[in-house]
Symmetry: C2
Subunit: 418 residues, 2 copies
């Protein structure tokens, strides 16, 4: 077959091909090939397999790009299924306060935290949001991310939430990283609704969701379900209103306490419940049956100094498919790096490297309902891939990125040699 | 005064100037300057201060290099006071085994761990060691390290230990990073001495130390004092023999249990006790009085999955000066990055950012007895500096290095723009 991009003779190809999601023992199935070749034509993968078979089967197109990947590892581009990457301003003062001992809840109670980003994001234009976010997407791309989820949620008025989602749509079109849009109007209760929270939930349900759906600006609806933020009843109402408008469900669940988010996820048929630092075995069993993906964000737990991580091994042993995400955001999401998330997953949550790789590729694609197009290297899927100098374990060398090349849609969009 | 390198108008200069070591409340004194300039001539700092005063006082030499550091942060080059950077081979299979659940002690008991690196290092030539290590020093330099300690200890015969130390001497001469040499013949008991450990200690004391001293190949003597490795009595004997030959003392102490290393450090007057994951308040009080620097290696605790970190806050509150190091090594020292170590110190050991910066600059220089020449930006010291794009907190963005420029001895030796 004809190919216009051929990545050949790779020491290791971690294809991650096969059924999604992967749960339990299958979570560690990366379907590896030794001495392999991956080739694509016009952005779609046409060959994945043994290098010698590839030499016989592949016909290079005129002007084909051929990458010698000897001593390299090729794996699917990372899919980052939980980010708040679109925002204005920063929260460095807050970080300094936290490093000196203040807690996330204390800062939030004083009107800092999410609400500080809300003030700055409301004041920013769509153009400013696009240009500030582009820099962060560039960083993510250099770390190997080829698709990310992006949430609204720093506007909290109908118009500013629409502005955030329009910025996401523009960035998806303009930037090599593909963005998947999530409406998170219920990220926090804004100051002006502090004494009438049910009126804010009404606004989300009756005005924001219909407006978002009418413009076709989001694929997903999300809620921050947590003690002091939105209750399970409010979360259920919002997610069901989203579903009626055509928005699929995902949820911030059980991050700071066992506050009911995982239960709501199972009840409404959410695709993913995220954070889950406090989830227990009973809820894990219910998630496994649904199934609801457990999207874990160890960098958030690390940067927020929660003192614990989600019980990842328990979730895997309960047959819940596990995905991993960065949680890029202005408060505690300082790292754009899926490799850093993989290192935290391996060394702080006891995943094997293979489990963590499936969690950042195929299972993450499933968490975004994109597993038919991305998340593994197999014929017919998009040619989104990362080439590492060295072996798979080099991903764990925090501070010395092994990423040699990032391929998006069959094009080399970043390489370490400039 | 005349200057051939002028880094001007920096938003933040973290000078770290003043007395060393910094302990207790002084550990967080980075002596910052807002809108500052640092200038040097022929590698020595000639001006540190207010940018406008600098404009008046500094006369640029012909062909002077002038760096506009607006919106940047300038701080001393990082000093990494504990590395095993010189070795041959790698231990990836061991890492995969550990990720699947094997412990460091199980692997060591089977002849893996340090002894695997010993086999490969003995087989390598000095040239091979130099060329393999140069790549790692390049990585460290890109992470902002301008001086590092480097230990022998993967030879464990007199000749192979001398080979390692000669490689360190060559690298110190040939590479921009300055290396400080430590003899660690007592890193482990080699296989051929397993049944006669006291004969190996005799060899270290009676043959290795005199040979190292005769060639002037090391400044420091170190011992891995730990249950199953060297006892406190053996450590004391080796360090005292080193002192008699002119080698100053440092020690691997209380990493895997409270096994007596900190006590030996105080007793023999060691400059630094390293690791200290299990040190208690009683030993901390004795270290504070000596003083013995506590050199902490949180990346080692992280990568070895020890499940805990050294009690850094207790040490600071006990007035022990704290330094931080990477522990670069083939087994669990996968990260060359002092910024990653700083992030672990802040988020996993509850240091403030300022405490962590002093721990990686001035206190680290004191831990190597180099505080008269490096570790802070002040007149007369070497111009070793790091320029960050952004503010000091950007150091914590793991996976998105803010390092714009690394300056060694008054020369720009690395910059992010190529």
């Amino acid at each position: 077959m004809l190919a216009d991009l051929i990545v050949k003779n790779a020491a290791h190809v971690l294809t991650c091909r096969g059924p999604a999601p992967r749960a339990g023992a299958a979570q560690r199935d990366v379907s590896p090939i030794r001495d392999g070749t991956v080739a694509s034509f016009e952005g779609s993968i046409v060959f994945v397999g043994d290098a010698r078979e590839g030499d016989a089967a592949i016909q290079p197109a005129p002007n084909a790009t051929i990458v010698d990947a000897s001593d390299n590892t090729v794996l699917p581009g990372f899919v980052d299924p939980h980010t708040h990457v679109v925002f204005a301003g920063d929260r460095r003062d807050e970080l300094r306060r936290r490093l000196a001992g203040a807690t996330y809840r204390e800062i939030a109670a004083e009107g800092g935290g999410i609400l500080e980003s809300v003030r700055e994001t409301r004041a920013a234009s769509e153009d400013e949001l696009v240009s500030q976010t582009r820099v962060r997407l560039d960083e993510m791309l250099r770390c190997g991310t080829t698709t990310c989820e992006a949430k609204s949620g720093y506007g909290l008025t109908t118009e500013s939430e629409l502005k955030l989602l329009r910025a996401i749509r523009r960035l998806d079109r303009e930037h090599p990283v593909d963005l998947v849009a999530t409406f998170l109007g219920a990220h926090d209760v804004p100051v002006e609704f502090r004494d009438r929270r049910s009126a804010f939930v009404d606004l989300v349900v009756n005005e924001m969701i219909p407006s978002v759906a009418a413009e076709g600006l989001a694929e997903w609806c999300d809620v921050f379900c947590e003690t002091g933020v939105f209750t399970p009843d409010e979360a259920r109402r919002i997610l069901q209103a989203g579903q009626q408008a055509g928005l699929k469900s995902r949820i911030h669940a059980d991050e700071l306490s066992l506050s009911g988010g995982a239960a709501v996820a199972v009840e409404v048929g959410a695709r993913s419940a995220d954070h889950l630092v406090f989830v227990d075995e009973d809820h894990a069993a219910r998630m496994a049956r649904a199934p609801v993906v457990a999207t874990l964000l160890p960098a958030a737990a690390f940067f927020l100094k929660l003192g614990r991580f989600a019980p990842a091994r328990m979730l895997i042993e309960s047959n819940v498919p596990v995905a991993l995400a960065t949680d890029v955001n202005p408060g505690g999401g300082f790292s754009p790096s899926m490799p850093f998330v993989i290192a935290l997953a391996c060394f702080a949550m006891n995943l094997t490297l293979e489990e963590a790789i499936v969690a950042t590729t195929l299972n993450a694609a499933f968490a975004l309902d994109r597993h038919d197009r991305i998340g593994s290297l197999e014929t017919g899927k998009k040619m989104d891939a990362v080439v590492l100098a060295g072996g798979p374990v080099d991903l764990l060398r925090v501070g010395a990125s092994p990423i040699r090349m990032v391929i998006k849609n069959g094009k080399i969009v970043w390489s370490s040699s400039g």
